[in-house]
C-alpha cells in the first residue's frame, strides 16, 4: 500500500486551484435523487441564458453527464424564443452527431449544417428533411440554428449572432476561439474538464503564463478574461455505472464532484459461462469485470516496445472472448459496435486492429482508437491498453491525467484494463516533477496521483487477474 506521511493532507482537501470553475449548480439539492439534481442543473443553465448579464456561461460536464442533451435543450430554448444561435463543435463527427440529435429532438427546427467544400454529409444528417447543408454561410445565415466545426467557422464572414454554443470547449484551442469569437456576442461553453487538453505541434513556453496563451484551451482563456462568468456543473453521470463513478470522480474530478445516475442493479452485464475446464485469465478477467465493473489483466512484468505484441494479443483475445460469450447489457445483446479498445498511441491501435482482423470478421465492428479519438464517445464495454504498460519511465505524456481519464470513462457497464505488471514500481521511481511557471497554477489532479489512485483500485483481488 501507498503510505503518505500523516502531515501531508491529501490534495483533495486543499482549496481548488486558481481559475477553477467555482462549484455550483445542484449542490443545494445534494440529497435529491440524481434525476432531480440533473434537471435542476439544466434548468439553471437555461435560466442563465435568459438572465445573465455576463458574456457567457461555462458548463463543466463530467463523462456522460448529458452534455449533448444540454446543448440540444439550450438550442431548443433559444429557438423557442426566436433567438438564432450558432453552434461550434470541434470535429465533423461531433457536428454530425449533434445535428442528428438536434433534428431528432426538434424535427420542426430548420437547421443549417455548415461544412467544408467537398465534405460529404453522412446519412444520419441527410435523413432529416429540415437540415440544410452548405459550404457557404449565405444560404444558412437566416436559419434559427447553424452548426459547424470551429475550423470551418473560422473562415466565415458574416454578421454576429447574439448567442453561440461552443461544444467540447475544453478540446478547443484558444487560437481557434480567437478566430471565431467575432461571430457571437455571448456564448455558452460546454465541455468536460477532465479530458485531454488540445495540443500543438510546436513546443514553446513563449506564451506560458499569458491569459491568452494560444495553446491553452478555450475555457481557461475565456474565464481568465471574464472572471465574473457563471460556472455551472452537471452533477450526474448517466453513463458511468455505480462501480465506476466514484473512482473516476476521485481520481480525475476532485473539485467537480458528481454522482452516478444509476445504481448497480440498473446495469447488469451477463456473459455465458466460460468454456468449462479452461482456466483462461481472459475469461476470468471478464467475469470480474461483469461482476464488479472493473477487470485488471496483469501480464508478467517486462520492459516492452510501445507496440507490445503480447499485450495487443491479450486485448484482442479478451475482446474475442467477450463477444463469443454472448454478452448482454440488461438483457440486450451487446454487439461489436458497443465494444471499444482504447490505447495511448496510434501504432498500438494498429497492432490491436491487426490482431482483431486475424481473429475473425465477428470483431470487425469493434472500435479501436487512441484516447484522443475516443473523447466524447460511449460504449457498453471498453478494453484499455494501460498507458504505462511495459515502460521504463513515466513521461509526462504517459502520465497525463486526461489520457487515463478518457480511457477509463467511456463505458456504461464494464472496463477491462490490460497492462504489464510493474506499474507500481514505475510510479515509485517517477514522482511528479514539473517545470514551474509563474502565474500557471498546477493542474489537479496530477497524473502521478491519479495513476496511483487508479492502481490502488485495480490492484484489489476483486479486479486483478494475473495473466499469461
Amino acid at each position: 500500500m501507498m503510505s503518505f506521511p500523516a502531515e501531508v493532507p491529501p490534495v483533495a482537501d486543499g482549496p481548488p486551484p486558481l481559475g477553477e470553475v467555482p462549484p455550483s449548480g445542484g449542490d443545494d439539492l445534494a440529497d435529491a435523487p440524481p434525476g432531480v439534481r440533473a434537471d435542476a442543473a439544466v434548468a439553471r443553465v437555461l435560466a442563465d441564458l435568459d438572465t445573465t448579464t455576463e458574456r457567457g456561461i461555462v458548463v463543466d460536464s463530467p463523462p456522460g453527464a448529458g452534455k449533448s442533451t444540454l446543448v440540444v435543450r439550450a438550442t431548443g430554448h433559444l429557438a423557442e424564443q426566436g433567438r438564432p444561435v450558432m453552434i461550434a463543435a470541434q470535429t465533423n463527427e461531433q457536428v454530425d452527431d449533434l445535428v442528428d440529435r438536434l433534428a431528432g429532438t426538434h424535427p420542426e427546427l430548420a437547421i443549417g449544417r455548415l461544412h467544408a467544400a467537398g465534405h460529404v454529409l453522412p446519412p444520419r444528417v441527410t435523413r432529416h428533411p429540415r437540415v440544410t447543408g452548405a459550404a457557404r454561410i449565405d444560404p444558412l445565415r437566416e436559419l434559427p440554428v447553424v452548426v459547424g466545426t470551429a475550423a470551418k467557422w473560422a473562415h466565415v464572414d458574416t454578421t454576429p449572432w447574439d448567442w453561440a454554443i461552443v461544444d467540447e470547449a475544453y478540446q478547443m484551442r484558444s487560437d481557434a476561439l480567437l478566430r471565431t469569437a467575432r461571430l457571437f456576442e455571448r456564448a455558452l461553453f460546454v465541455g468536460d474538464p477532465g479530458q485531454l487538453d488540445p495540443f500543438a505541434t510546436v513546443e514553446t513556453d513563449r506564451w506560458t503564463g499569458l491569459s491568452w496563451n494560444p495553446m491553452s484551451n478555450a475555457v481557461d482563456v475565456v474565464l481568465a478574461h471574464n472572471p465574473g462568468m457563471h460556472g455551472r456543473r452537471l452533477p450526474v453521470s448517466w453513463r458511468l455505472p455505480e462501480t465506476a463513478a466514484p473512482l473516476v470522480r476521485d481520481a480525475f474530478y476532485p473539485f467537480q464532484p458528481f454522482v452516478p445516475g444509476t445504481v448497480a442493479a440498473d446495469r447488469v452485464l451477463t456473459l455465458d459461462p466460460a468454456p468449462s475446464g479452461a482456466d483462461d485469465p481472459r475469461d476470468t478477467v471478464l467475469d470480474r469485470a461483469a461482476a464488479g465493473g472493473w477487470g485488471y489483466l496483469e501480464l508478467p512484468a517486462r520492459p516492452t516496445l510501445r507496440t507490445d505484441g503480447q499485450l495487443a494479443d491479450a486485448l484482442a483475445g479478451t475482446a474475442d472472448r467477450l463477444l463469443r460469450r454472448a454478452p448482454l447489457a440488461n438483457g440486450e445483446p451487446i454487439g461489436a459496435d458497443r465494444v471499444a479498445i482504447g490505447t495511448a498511441h496510434n501504432d498500438q491501435a494498429a497492432a490491436v486492429r491487426d490482431r482483431l482482423a486475424a481473429l475473425g470478421p465477428h470483431l470487425a465492428g469493434v472500435t479501436v482508437d487512441t484516447a484522443n479519438k475516443l473523447q466524447g464517445r460511449e460504449f457498453d464495454v471498453t478494453l484499455v491498453w494501460h498507458p504505462l504498460s511495459g515502460r521504463t519511465d513515466a513521461s509526462a505524456f504517459h502520465l497525463e491525467t486526461g489520457r487515463l481519464c478518457v480511457l477509463l470513462s467511456r463505458h456504461r457497464h464494464a472496463c477491462v484494463i490490460v497492462a504489464r505488471a510493474g506499474i507500481r514500481e514505475l510510479l515509485d521511481r517517477h514522482p511528479t516533477t514539473r517545470p514551474v511557471h509563474l502565474d500557471v497554477p498546477p493542474k489537479f489532479p496530477d497524473g502521478w496521483r491519479a495513476h496511483q489512485l487508479v492502481l490502488d483500485h485495480l490492484d484489489r483481488p476483486a479486479h486483478r487477474v494475473p495473466g499469461g
Binding site: D175, L178, A200, T201, W207, L210, W212, N213, V221, H225
Partner: protein
C-alpha cells in the same frame, strides 16, 4: 527522432565514430556567416562578460567587459557589438531581386542576401534573446541615454532570436544543433550539447576514435565550455582579477589588469572559435539539400520585410505577445514545422526512411499501369490514371489515404487497394488524383505518369493547410481580453537599471 536514429547511435557507439543521419545538408551555411561566441557572468540574467565575433576565421574580434557589474562597461560592450554586427547586417542590403508572391500574384523585391549568425549552442541563442531584450527598450535620450546603435542592435537581436524558432530558418543557428541534426554520436543528447565532445565524435584527431576523443574533450582545462556559461574554476581566476581591478589605484594599473583579463578570456574563447569553424567546414562538405535555397529565399524575404519595418516604424517588439500576434506566430510556427519536416524527407532518402519505418511512407516499383483510366462521375468522367506498386514491407497506410510522390513534385494519388502479392511482398493500387497538369482526359503530358519498373517513394507528408485568418490586434474579441493597449516603450523600460 526515430528508430533509424537509434540504429545510427548504436553503430556510432560500436565504431566509436559518429554516423550520418542525413545524406545531404538541410541547413543553409552562408558564404560569410557571422560566428559569435558569447560568455556571460555566472549568476546574472544576462551580464555579458566577453564575446568572440567575426566573419573571418583568422581575424576574430574579442570584446570584453572587465567588470561585468559595471553598467557603463556593459553598454560599451553592446555598442562595440553593434559596431560589428550592424554593418554586417547592412552589408546584406546591396543587391535586390524581384519575385512573385501573394494572391493575386504581384511582383515584389527582396535582398539577395540575408545575414547568418552562428553560435555554439542553444545557450548562445538564449544569450542573443536576452541581450536583445535588455537593449531594445533603451532610450537614446534622457537620464539613462545610450548610443542610438544600442536599441537598434536590440531590435535586430530580438528579431534573430524570434526567427530561430522557425525550423528551416538559417538566420541564427546553434552549431551543436546543426551537427546533431546531421550526425548521431554514441552519447546521449545531453552530452552532445558539449561542442568539443560532439566535434570529437564527428571528426576525431588522428589516432583516436571519436569516443576516446570525446571523453578527453570533456576536460575543461583543454576545452573550455563553449559558453555562454563559463567554467566555474576559471571564474575563480576571473574573480581574483576583477577584485584586483576594483582595487587598482589608478587608470594605468586598471588598464594592466584589463589586459590580463582580456588575455584570460581570449584563452577561454579561442578553442571554441576554432571548433566553430571546423564545424562549418564539416557542414560545408555535405552537399546542400534541394530545398535549402528555397528556405533561404524565405529568410531573405523576412529579412527584407524587417529592414523595411525598421525604416518605416521601428518600434521595438513589446515584452510579451498580444493575443492575436501570439496566435499568428503559433500558426506560422506550426506551418513551418510541417513544411520543414516534409521538405527534409522529400530531399533526403535517409530522412524519408524514418517515415517508411513508421508506415507513413513506402517505396515501391511500378509493376502495372493504366495511363488512360477514367472513372465514372456524371457525364464527363474523371481522368484517374492507375498504378500498381510492389513493395517489400507490409503496407500500413489504409485504403483511401492520399499520398504524394517524393520524386515528383505535385504528383498525388489515392490508395485504392493493398494486398499480399503472389510470390513475395505486397502490392498497392493507386489512382493518380493530382499533378497531371491541367488535362482532364488522356493522354497525360509526357513523363508525368511513372513508367513500369520505376521505383518511387510515396508518403502522406506534404499536405499543408492554410490557417484561417486571425483578427487584427485592434479587433481582439472579448474572449481574449479585448483590444490590447498598443505597445509604447515606457520610461520604466528604458530606466530599468542594468546592474
Amino acid at each position: 527522432m526515430s528508430l533509424l536514429t537509434t540504429v545510427a547511435a548504436l553503430r556510432a557507439a560500436e565504431t566509436g565514430t559518429a554516423q550520418p543521419l542525413t545524406t545531404v545538408r538541410h541547413a543553409h551555411i552562408d558564404d560569410h556567416p557571422v560566428v559569435l561566441i558569447p560568455l556571460t557572468l555566472a549568476g546574472e540574467a544576462c551580464a555579458p562578460l566577453a564575446a568572440m565575433v567575426g566573419t573571418d576565421r583568422d581575424r576574430p574580434v574579442l570584446l570584453t567587459v572587465p567588470q561585468p557589474r559595471d553598467r557603463t562597461l556593459r553598454f560599451r560592450f553592446a555598442e562595440e557589438l553593434a559596431d560589428i554586427l550592424l554593418p554586417l547586417i547592412d552589408g546584406c542590403r546591396t543587391e535586390s531581386e524581384t519575385y512573385e508572391a501573394g494572391r493575386p500574384k504581384e511582383e515584389r523585391t527582396r535582398w539577395t542576401r540575408a545575414p547568418q549568425i552562428l553560435v555554439p549552442n542553444p545557450g548562445g541563442i538564449e544569450f542573443i534573446r536576452l541581450l536583445g531584450r535588455s537593449t531594445r527598450l533603451r532610450r537614446t535620450d534622457g537620464p539613462h541615454a545610450v548610443a542610438p546603435t544600442v536599441p537598434l542592435l536590440g531590435n535586430w537581436l530580438t528579431w534573430f532570436a524570434d526567427r530561430t524558432d522557425f525550423p528551416g530558418s538559417g538566420l541564427l543557428l546553434a552549431m551543436t544543433r546543426l551537427l546533431t541534426d546531421h550526425w548521431a554520436t554514441g552519447w546521449s543528447p545531453g552530452e552532445n550539447a558539449h561542442l568539443p565532445s560532439l566535434l570529437a565524435w564527428i571528426d576525431p584527431p588522428p589516432g583516436r576514435t571519436g569516443a576516446e576523443a570525446a571523453l578527453l574533450a570533456e576536460d575543461p582545462a583543454e576545452h573550455p565550455p563553449a559558453g555562454p556559461t563559463t567554467d566555474p574554476v576559471f571564474d575563480r581566476t576571473l574573480h581574483e582579477l576583477t577584485a584586483a581591478r576594483d582595487a587598482a589605484p589608478d587608470d594605468r594599473a586598471r588598464a594592466a589588469v584589463d589586459r590580463t583579463i582580456a588575455d584570460e578570456l581570449r584563452s577561454q574563447l579561442a578553442p571554441t572559435w576554432e571548433l566553430m569553424w571546423r564545424g562549418i567546414d564539416l557542414l560545408r562538405a555535405l552537399p546542400p539539400a534541394a530545398r535549402v535555397p528555397g528556405r533561404r529565399a524565405v529568410d531573405r524575404t523576412v529579412f527584407t520585410h524587417y529592414t523595411t519595418y525598421l525604416e518605416e516604424d521601428g518600434r521595438p517588439r513589446a515584452r510579451r505577445d498580444h493575443a492575436a500576434s501570439a496566435a499568428r506566430r503559433l500558426a506560422q510556427l506550426e506551418d513551418a514545422v510541417a513544411r520543414y519536416e516534409s521538405e527534409r524527407a522529400f530531399d533526403d532518402p535517409l530522412v524519408m526512411a524514418r517515415y517508411e519505418l513508421t508506415g507513413e511512407a513506402f517505396t515501391g516499383t511500378v509493376v502495372d499501369r493504366d495511363p488512360d483510366r477514367m472513372v465514372e462521375n456524371g457525364r464527363a468522367g474523371l481522368f484517374r490514371p492507375a498504378l500498381t506498386v510492389r513493395v517489400d514491407t507490409r503496407p500500413l497506410l489504409a485504403v483511401g489515404t492520399t499520398v504524394r510522390c517524393a520524386g515528383r513534385d505535385g504528383l498525388k494519388a489515392e490508395i485504392l487497394d493493398r494486398r499480399e502479392a503472389a510470390g513475395a511482398g505486397w502490392e498497392i493500387d493507386l489512382q493518380l488524383t493530382g499533378g497531371l497538369g491541367r488535362v482532364r482526359k488522356p493522354p497525360a503530358p509526357e513523363g508525368v505518369i511513372p513508367d513500369l519498373g520505376e521505383e518511387l517513394c510515396w508518403t502522406t507528408l506534404g499536405g499543408y493547410m492554410t490557417p484561417a485568418p486571425l483578427p487584427a490586434e485592434e479587433d481582439t474579441p472579448w474572449t481574449h481580453g479585448g483590444p490590447p493597449q498598443p505597445y509604447e516603450p515606457t520610461p520604466d523600460d528604458a530606466e530599468e537599471s542594468w546592474e
